[in-house]
C-alpha cells in the first residue's frame, strides 16, 4: 500500500510540468551561475548577511531595537531556513530515484523495494547535509532555534555563507584546496616545530625568575608569535639557552613563511588559466545575444570585426589553443572548445536557442562544418546557420545538415567579376552602399503597425522627399519585393522597407515615424 502510494506520487511529480518548472526555477536561482536572475538573489542574500553581522556588532555595546533583533533572529533566519530547505530539495531528484528503482524491480520481476529507494534518497540527502557548505548554512540558521546569548556567535557563520554567493571567494577556497597536501604538510611541520620549541623554551626559561615564560602556555604563545615572525616582544627569553632556541625557531619561521607563500603563489599560478576561462565562461553566460562563430581564421577575424563594428557581440569557439590565443590578442571573446561537440555547449553553458542570434560556421573543412551544423541543430532547430562552402560538390550536404545560408566565395567572386567588367559604375555604387564607407547606407527597416501606417506620410515630408530613396517594400506575407512603391500601397505590420540615405537621415526618418506613431 505504502509502496503503491510512493510510486504514484513519484510518477505524478515526474510528469507534472508545474512541479518540474518550479524545481528547475529554484535550481537555477540557487545553483546555476549562468541564470541571469541568480545574481539578484545572491546580492539580496549578501545584504542580509551584512545586516545580520552589523546588528551583532552593534548589539555588543548599544541597545538595538527589538524589531531589528526580531528581524535578525527570526526573519533573516527564516529566510536562510527556507533557502536551506530549497537547497536540500533541489540537490537530488527524489521522484526519479523512486521511478528508477520501481522500473528496475519491474524489469527483474520482483515487488517494488521501497526500502532501497528510501535508502538511496536518504544517502543522497545525507551527502548534502554533511557537506561543508551545508553545515555552514545550518549553523547560520541556529539563532532561529535558540535565543541564548552564546549562540549569537553562530551569526558569524553567516559570513561564511558569503562563499556561496561570491564566486571570487569560492574560487579562492578551491584554489587553496587544490594544495591540500602541501598545506597539510606545512601544518605538520609548523606544529612539530611549535611543539618542540615550546617544550624547549619552557625547560630553558621556566626555572629562571627573571623570565616571563613561566607556564607551558606562555611558552606555546611565545613559540607561535616567534615562528610566524610576529615577535611582539612581550615574552622574551633571558637565558643563553633560551636565546639559542629563539634563533633556531626564527630561522625555522622563515622557512615556514616561505613555504606557505610558495604554496599559495604556485596554486594561483597553476589555476590562473582556469580562473580566466571560468571568468570568460561567466561573462559569455551573461551576454543576452551574440553571433557564435565556429572556427578561427583570418576570415573569422574579419567577420568578427564587421559584426563588432555594427555594435554586435560575438563569441568564437575554436579547438586550437594557439588560435584562441591569437583571437584574444585580436580582441575577441574566444573559448578553446570544440564547436562540434555537445559537451562543449554544456561546459561553457551557452544556451543556443536564447543566446545565439545566428551561428556562423567557418571551420577549415566542409566535413567539420557539417558535423558542427548537426550538433547545433540538436540544440536548436530554429537558430539561423550560415556556413562557408569549401568545395562546391558539398553544397547539398551542407543544405541537408540544416544550414540556412551557404557562402561559396569562389562563385561570389565570379559573379562580382562579371558585374565589375560589365557595369563598373553601377557596381561601384552598390559596393559603396554595402561597404558603408561613403556615408550613404542601404538599410532595411522593419515596420510595426504604427510605422507601417505612417510610412508614406513621413517619406513625403520635404526633408526626405529628394534625399531618402525608398527602394521598395518587402511584403513578408507573400515574400515579394515591391520596387518604387506608390503611396497608395497598403503596408502592413512586419513588412520591411528598404531605403537609401545618409545615416543621420535614416535615423531621423525612423524617429519621426516612431514619434508620429506615439502621438
Amino acid at each position: 500500500m505504502f509502496s503503491q502510494w510512493m510510486v504514484g506520487i513519484a510518477f505524478f511529480l515526474h510528469a507534472s510540468p508545474r512541479y518540474r518548472h518550479a524545481k528547475k526555477f529554484f535550481y537555477n536561482l540557487l545553483e546555476n551561475p549562468a541564470y541571469p536572475y541568480k545574481r539578484f538573489f545572491d546580492y539580496t542574500m549578501m545584504v542580509l548577511i551584512v545586516i545580520s553581522v552589523y546588528i551583532l556588532i552593534l548589539h555588543v555595546k548599544h541597545e538595538v531595537s527589538p524589531k531589528w533583533i526580531f528581524f535578525n533572529n527570526y526573519v533573516v533566519s527564516f529566510i536562510f531556513f527556507i533557502e536551506y530547505m530549497l537547497r536540500l530539495w533541489v540537490y537530488s531528484d527524489t521522484s526519479k530515484i523512486v521511478i528508477e528503482q520501481y522500473e528496475h524491480d519491474v524489469f527483474i520481476q520482483r515487488p517494488f523495494n521501497y526500502f532501497n529507494a528510501l535508502r538511496t534518497i536518504f544517502k543522497n540527502k545525507l551527502t548534502f547535509v554533511t557537506s561543508t557548505s551545508s553545515i555552514i548554512d545550518m549553523l547560520a540558521i541556529m539563532p532561529f532555534f535558540h535565543e541564548f546569548r552564546i549562540l549569537r556567535v553562530f551569526i558569524l557563520f553567516r559570513v561564511f555563507k558569503l562563499f556561496r554567493y561570491s564566486r571570487s571567494l569560492s574560487q579562492l577556497v578551491s584554489i587553496l584546496s587544490s594544495k591540500k597536501f602541501e598545506i597539510f604538510t606545512l601544518g605538520i611541520f609548523a606544529a612539530v616545530i611549535i611543539l618542540v620549541s615550546s617544550v624547549l623554551i619552557y625547560v630553558m626559561e621556566a626555572h629562571n625568575p627573571e623570565s616571563k615564560i613561566n607556564t607551558l602556555f606562555d611558552a606555546l604563545y611565545w613559540s607561535v608569535v616567534t615562528i610566524f615572525t610576529v615577535g611582539y616582544g612581550d615574552f622574551v627569553p633571558v637565558t643563553d639557552e633560551g636565546r639559542i632556541v629563539a634563533m633556531a625557531i626564527i630561522i625555522a619561521g622563515i622557512a615556514v613563511i616561505s613555504f606557505a607563500t610558495s604554496i599559495v603563489v604556485s596554486a594561483f599560478t597553476e589555476k590562473l588559466d582556469q580562473i580566466k576561462e571560468e571568468k570568460l565562461i561567466d561573462d559569455v553566460g551573461k551576454i543576452d545575444q551574440f553571433y557564435l562563430i565556429c572556427g578561427y581564421s583570418p576570415l573569422a577575424a574579419e567577420v568578427a570585426r564587421q559584426f563588432i563594428r555594427h555594435g554586435n557581440k560575438i563569441v568564437i569557439l575554436e579547438l586550437d589553443k594557439e588560435k584562441v590565443q591569437q583571437a584574444h590578442k585580436d580582441g575577441f571573446t574566444a573559448l578553446a572548445y570544440d564547436s562540434g561537440s555537445l559537451h562543449s555547449y554544456q561546459a561553457i553553458k551557452i544556451d543556443i536557442p536564447s543566446q545565439a542570434k545566428a551561428v556562423i560556421l567557418l571551420r577549415e573543412s566542409d566535413v567539420l562544418n557539417v558535423y558542427t551544423a548537426l550538433t547545433i541543430r540538436e540544440l536548436s532547430k530554429k537558430v539561423p546557420l550560415l556556413s562557408i562552402l569549401h568545395q562546391d560538390e558539398n553544397r547539398r550536404k551542407l543544405s541537408f545538415a540544416g544550414i540556412n545560408e551557404i557562402v561559396y566565395t569562389q562563385e561570389l567572386i565570379g559573379l562580382i567579376s562579371k558585374e565589375v567588367s560589365g557595369r563598373p559604375v553601377a557596381f561601384e555604387v552598390i559596393h559603396a552602399l554595402r561597404s558603408e564607407n561613403s556615408g550613404v547606407f542601404i538599410e532595411e527597416i522593419g515596420l510595426d503597425a504604427t510605422m507601417a501606417e505612417r510610412f508614406f506620410e513621413i517619406a513625403k515630408l520635404p526633408l526626405f522627399h529628394k534625399r531618402l530613396i525608398v527602394l521598395g517594400i518587402y511584403k513578408t506575407s507573400d515574400r515579394k519585393f515591391l520596387f518604387n512603391p506608390s503611396t497608395d500601397l497598403i503596408i502592413k505590420e512586419g513588412d520591411v522597407a528598404i531605403v537609401i540615405a545618409t545615416r543621420s537621415l535614416i535615423d531621423e526618418f525612423q524617429t519621426l515615424m516612431y514619434q508620429k506613431g506615439k502621438r
Partner: protein, 233 residues
C-alpha cells in the same frame, strides 16, 4: 567603353568561376596559365588555356587581341605573383583595364600600387557578405536578385547624350520615380570629377552631356527611360 575581349590569368577555383561567369559575355575570351596542371584543370572545365610566364614580353597577347578592347583579370594563386603580373602588364599596356584578386586588404593596396584598376579583396568581400546576409537579409536578397538572378529588376548605367532633354536640368528637378518608374541612385558628374556622387547626398547636380546616371528599375522601364533620355530638348 564596351570591351570585346577578356583574358583571365591563372586557373584556380576563383579563376574558374570568373571564367564561367564572363566567358559568355565577350566575343573573344582566353585563359592564360602558368603550369601544365592549371592547363589541364582549365581544359577539364571546358576552356582552352595558353601557357605564359612572368618574364614574357606579352607579344602573344598583342597578336591575339586588340588591346584597346581588352579587359584582363589577374587571378593567380599567389598574391605576390599576382602583384608582379599586374605591374608587368601595366608597364607594357598603359590603358589596359586590369581587375585583380587579392587575399586581403594588405595585398589589395599593393595591387592598386601596381596599377590595377579594380581590386577585389577576397577576405573582406566574403566577410562583408556574411555579415550583410545576417544583419540585412532583405537587402541582401533584393540586391542579389538585381545583380545575379534572372530578375526583371535591373541596375543600369545610362550615359546622357548630347541632345538629351535632361541636359541643363538639375538632378532634383525631375521626379524620376513618378515619371519614369526608375530610381536614380547616383551620378558621375564629369564636371566635378570622374567619381560618382550619391543622389541621397542631396547635392543637386547640373546634368551635362556624357554624365552617367546609375538607375534601378524594371527592364522595360529602364529601356523606356533610356529612350526618353535621348529625346532632344
Amino acid at each position: 567603353m564596351i570591351y570585346k575581349s577578356a583574358l583571365v590569368f591563372g586557373f584556380n577555383e576563383y579563376a574558374k568561376q570568373i571564367a564561367l561567369q564572363i566567358s559568355g559575355e565577350y566575343p573573344s575570351f582566353a585563359v592564360f596559365v602558368m603550369t601544365e596542371a592549371e592547363k589541364t584543370f582549365a581544359r577539364l572545365a571546358g576552356f582552352e588555356a595558353e601557357l605564359f610566364d612572368l618574364s614574357e614580353d606579352w607579344k602573344s597577347i598583342e597578336e591575339r587581341f586588340n588591346i584597346n578592347e581588352l579587359i584582363v583579370f589577374c587571378a593567380l594563386d599567389n598574391d605576390a605573383e599576382n602583384v608582379f603580373l599586374t605591374i608587368s602588364l601595366r608597364a607594357t599596356f598603359e590603358n589596359l583595364p586590369i581587375i585583380a584578386l587579392a587575399g586581403d586588404h594588405e595585398s589589395a593596396e599593393k595591387m592598386k600600387s601596381a596599377g590595377a584598376n579594380k581590386v577585389m579583396p577576397i577576405l573582406q568581400i566574403t566577410a562583408g557578405i556574411i555579415s550583410e546576409m545576417l544583419e540585412k537579409p532583405t537587402v541582401t536578397e533584393v540586391l542579389h536578385d538585381i545583380f545575379y538572378e534572372d530578375s526583371k529588376l535591373k541596375i543600369a548605367q545610362i550615359t546622357v547624350s548630347k541632345g538629351s532633354f535632361v541636359v541643363g536640368k538639375h538632378l532634383h528637378d525631375i521626379d524620376w520615380g513618378n515619371e519614369y518608374d526608375v530610381l536614380v541612385l547616383a551620378i558621375v558628374d564629369f564636371q566635378l570629377g570622374a567619381t560618382f556622387s550619391f543622389t541621397s547626398r542631396g547635392h543637386n547636380h547640373h546634368i551635362d552631356p556624357d554624365d552617367i546616371l546609375v538607375v534601378i528599375g524594371y527592364e522595360d522601364k529602364i529601356a523606356a527611360f533610356s529612350k526618353a533620355m535621348e529625346v532632344s530638348v
